[in-house]
């Protein structure tokens, strides 16, 4: 029995297949521009064939739900939810940002992915990796790059190393290194990418805890509800909301949606 992790939110199309004990059996990552939609299903087919497995061997799907490219993330999420629906198995959403950060789980310090979200903003979150513990200190959100340095300096302990990764990492390092308290900023990676083995590692533990046997019913019930976490309204929608609410509200550039919102409804607030 196996779990399949899929992420297409960034420049990488990444797949990982692992067992319930957390062992990765196969993990493939490609970086072919604008080919995620073409290649995703054939690569799943290839991977299963290489492992001499069948889709019917899957007992769950782990979906990278973004943030990232709107069109990109929809491809992986659509495949994941359709797979879960068709096979009658559960699907677990995992943040693509979290998966990227989790690749640094052996480092000690703060891990901060900074992915370009246009107009001076980044998709970001703050994690702390320490003594084998990996915890989230700031939720996934679209934030103003320049302004977030100050927030980050209040989160970081004195002298704590901050690892940056993503296509805005160099810029973030430049902007933030003047901040007091952020003395050790290391650019760990300069590309925005996700590897599905990290997505798998994050998801499989949570999955193992709640995964009932296939025979126990109520499977795939969350397939219909699975959607990407864009962290941002469509531009036209943001503009419309702004107009509805009057001019004192924030413009579309500062419209931020946080997945923390427990109600599950999309809400807007300024950071």
């Amino acid at each position: 029995m196996a779990l399949l992790a899929i992420d297409t939110a960034t420049t990488t199309l990444s797949l990982a297949l692992g067992d319930r004990a957390g062992h990765v059996l196969a993990a493939w990552t490609t970086r072919v521009a604008r080919m995620h939609a073409t290649l995703l299903n054939p690569l799943i087919d290839e991977m299963l064939a290489a492992l001499n497995m069948d889709l019917s061997d899957l007992e769950g799907v782990i979906a990278g739900v973004g943030p990232g490219s709107y069109t990109g993330v929809r491809i992986g999420v659509t495949a994941a939810k359709t797979l879960a629906f068709a096979l009658g198995i559960p699907v677990l959403p995992v943040s693509s940002l979290a998966a990227a950060a989790y690749s640094l789980r052996c480092c000690t310090g703060l891990v901060v992915p900074v992915w370009d979200a246009r107009r001076g903003a980044v998709y970001t979150a703050v994690y702390r990796s320490q003594h084998g513990h990996f915890s989230q200190l700031a939720a996934d959100a679209r934030r103003d790059l320049a302004a977030f340095g100050e927030t980050l300096s209040t989160i970081a302990d004195d002298g704590e190393t901050v690892y940056l990764l993503g296509d805005s990492a160099l810029q973030a390092q430049r902007e933030w290194q003047e901040q007091s308290g952020l003395t050790r900023i290391i650019v760990y990676g300069e590309t925005t990418e996700v590897r599905a083995e990290d997505l798998f590692a994050l998801g499989c533990e949570r999955f193992a805890q709640r995964l009932p046997g296939r025979e126990e019913g109520s499977h795939g019930e969350n397939a219909n509800a699975l959607v990407p976490r864009y962290l941002q309204l469509a531009e036209a929608e943001a503009r419309w909301l702004q107009k509805e609410r009057g001019s004192e509200d924030d413009g579309p550039e500062r419209t931020i949606i946080s997945p923390d919102d427990r109600s599950g409804h999309r809400s807007c607030h300024a950071d």
């Binding site: 069109t71 929809r74 359709t82 797979l83 469509a234 929608e237």
Partner: protein
């Protein structure tokens, strides 16, 4: 077993042994998320359409990113409903079909990815369908419309004259060079403050209006051309509204709507008749969302009667975007053994002769 083998085994067995073929079809090229199950290309076992009209109304038109987001939310819901309505499971159907283009690329990706995944998960053949071929085969669902025939497809995204041969090949005779007719309806409706979608709004407003109030331009292009152009007409309406407002006169909405509608219909009618004469065809198929326009249907009916031709209009629910028509078109390909593989992808523009 690899999907390609499993699908092939399934196809060869079913195509030979099954006395009826049920196709689960998806459509997501614009703002409707749709799924349907079609038997033998003509019997509608189910047809589910999740319309996004209410979510686009506030923008006065379809916003691609908003549409794509809604497709992801709806896609498995409509599939589930279509199977339930047909009282079938995924294992009971014989193929998966999907609109692969043309359309909004982000929207198409959702349907194509879902269809590929369904085919892969169930070991079923996969068939990519041209959206306009779907509109043409919509006629097979409610009318006995055998090619050869001439088709006028008019919607928010398309205005095309197509020739369908007896063998099922499709040739484009003419198309719009700028706005689609439905698009012009939407834009003029918005300018008149009539709301979205523009087709029904203008039709209702025009009901009490004078079609001869203003003579808006009819762009007929070159004398022998079967192409269309509606942007000049749209601009003429805008210009008129501008002039009236600047002069402080109130807008005669009903008269303007009726005059605009009459100009659109004139052009569509003239070109369709020209194409009938040119091709020597006896049958005109009117398809696409604008086929819902009663004024256009009535005028074409009269014109066809006069010309001794037969006018075919599919049931209105199959004129607007739906998945049933995609299932009807896919059946033709299923019979011909023209199947796709898992590299099938969405295409924003797609020539009809490659359908």
């Amino acid at each position: 077993m690899r999907w390609s083998e499993a699908m092939r085994v399934r196809y060869e067995r079913d195509a030979k042994a099954c006395d009826r073929i049920d196709i689960l079809a998806l459509e997501s090229s614009c703002d409707e998320t749709a799924a349907a199950v079609i038997r033998d290309g003509r019997i509608v076992l189910s047809s589910v359409v999740a319309s996004q009209i209410s979510s686009h109304q506030r923008f006065g038109g379809v916003v691609p990113e908003v549409a794509s987001r809604a497709h992801v939310e709806q896609v498995t819901v409509v599939i589930e409903q279509a199977l339930a309505d047909a009282q079938l499971t995924l294992g009971d159907v014989h193929a998966i079909a999907v609109t692969r283009g043309p359309g909004l690329i982000g929207a198409l990706f959702v349907g194509v990815t879902a269809a590929k995944t369904l085919a892969q998960a169930s070991g079923l053949p996969l068939i990519g369908v041209h959206h306009l071929a779907g509109h043409l085969y919509a006629a097979a669902l409610s009318q006995d419309a055998e090619p050869p025939l001439l088709a006028l497809v008019v919607s928010g995204g398309h205005t095309e004259l197509l020739y369908v041969s007896a063998q099922g090949t499709i040739e484009q005779l003419g198309k719009t060079r700028d706005d689609a007719a439905g698009e012009a309806y939407d834009k003029v409706a918005r300018a008149l403050g009539l709301g979205y979608p523009g087709g029904p709004a203008i039709q209702d407003a025009a009901a009490g209006g004078d079609p001869a109030f203003i003579r808006f331009p009819r762009a007929l292009l070159e004398e022998d051309s079967l192409d269309f152009s509606f942007s000049g007409l749209k601009s003429a309406v805008m210009l008129h509204l501008d002039r009236e407002r600047k002069a402080g006169r109130s807008i005669r909405v009903a008269d303007v709507a009726a005059s605009f509608q009459s100009a659109v219909t004139d052009v569509l009618e003239k070109k369709a008749l020209l194409a009938l004469v040119r091709t020597g065809q006896q049958t005109l198929l009117l398809a696409g969302g604008v086929a819902a326009n009663a004024h256009l249907r009535a005028r074409l009916q009269t014109a066809c009667d006069d010309a001794g031709a037969r006018l075919i209009v599919p049931e209105l629910r199959f004129c607007t975007d739906n998945a049933a028509m995609i299932g009807a078109a896919a059946y033709v390909r299923y019979k011909q053994g023209k199947l796709d593989d898992l590299t099938l992808t969405a295409q924003a523009s797609l020539p009809i002769d490659q359908w």
